[in-house]
Subunit: 135 residues, 4 copies
């Protein structure tokens, strides 16, 4: 059985793209992850606000850690994101991914993305496929 520490080594430390964006892990538990990212001036779109891809990356990263946190390999099949408010430069975003449902082969996760003041910026939900254990 993996410990949370070894999961952090295996998943968070090896998650190259999110780390390049400064995404931090705040909390990890079975079926749950909470992560943070600050929108900097390299993460904007042509409207001058946080790019949808950067916000999605934070959500997807939290989903990836939450859904792999039980030690089995899970991959995202489908994710829907709803954008509610713009994320301005300098804003710290917190994503919380929670498991809503789990079967042997599939899982459903809901991700809330809010500013550190608690204002919801986006919500997402993702369906994952859980691969068979190799042994």
């Amino acid at each position: 059985m993996s410990t949370v520490t070894s999961l952090i080594d295996k998943y968070y430390n090896a998650d190259t793209f999110p780390r390049s964006l400064g995404i931090e892990l705040l909390e990890l538990a079975p079926g749950y992850a909470r992560m943070a990212m600050t929108i900097n001036k390299n993460m904007t779109n042509f409207h001058g606000i946080g790019h949808g891809g950067a916000i999605f990356t934070l959500a997807d990263t939290a989903l990836g850690l939450a859904s792999n946190s039980r030690g089995d390999t899970a991959v995202a099949l489908a994710i829907t994101i709803n954008y509610l408010k713009p994320a301005r430069i300098g804003m710290q975003l917190i994503a919380e991914a929670r498991e809503e449902h789990l079967t042997r082969h599939t899982g459903l996760y809901r991700i809330n993305i809010a500013s550190s003041e608690g204002e919801t910026i986006a919500v997402a939900q993702g369906t994952v496929y859980r691969m068979d254990k190799k042994g």
Copy 2:
């Protein structure tokens, strides 16, 4: 009426986050955009393949250009992405965003993300809200 050249200046050249990932504009027309991105070693997840957030960013960028290509401001409300195959390091991805439907206030776009060999990696669809013209 904006020309394609001025649209490129206004949108693509000002799209900071995608440019930081090396995303290139291949073609832009009203309601349509085609863009390319090569998965490099900084864009991977803990499985060692292209991160879902990087692939989504390419799709979202193509959606943003296609939906703003008519000169009005459009913002994404909801996007669903389906991941079909892993994108390996070194793979060049091509995203094509096409307008499926347009009303005065909303639009629907479909985005296909394929390898340069034509293998579909992911598909997405996005609903945008078109803001009123300022003048």
Copy 3:
């Protein structure tokens, strides 16, 4: 300003398709609706369980009432439903639609569909477009 009673006349009593399925209104408030439907033997699919279309209809009906409950006309643009557990014949389903976000022109709603024992059967989220008031 419409009263809840007149909203029920205007919306629930005129909602022909849901009424043909026996869908009942349990509670209506601004941005909120709770409705019930019992899966009967005419609502099954070829697996002998509640058809996805019947379950969706309950969710969509709750979304329609919740999003029109403020007196303005709202129409659904995009809805995503996730099916979690089968609904068996005779099961009473309760759908609760809650407003998660509202702007002048758009709204986001989350719908939970559970058995009367509280077991979640499906979850959905819908984006609506709010039309301009006529006067």
Copy 4:
């Protein structure tokens, strides 16, 4: 190996809810189904047009037949529908479900819902989970 005729008996003839709405099967092939439904006055919402649940039921029924057409059992995990135009009373709708991707355990289908004159009314996409064969 099942023949198309036995699939029609097993699936379409046993699909109780769609049959109660008069949904007809026009064509069935591996990974593909085309079906028809006419919006009648019992299928409307409080706006007096075809209810989103009735339109979704047509789409979901086509998805169910297409995804089960290979002889294995498939169940929908997540479906997203985008409504583009109202469906008026008397309008015949044609839904075409096509397989976009298939792995051993999952499948992605795209469903187009159009009037018999070819005007697109809604589009949907569904992710299914394919259960293991029993033998």
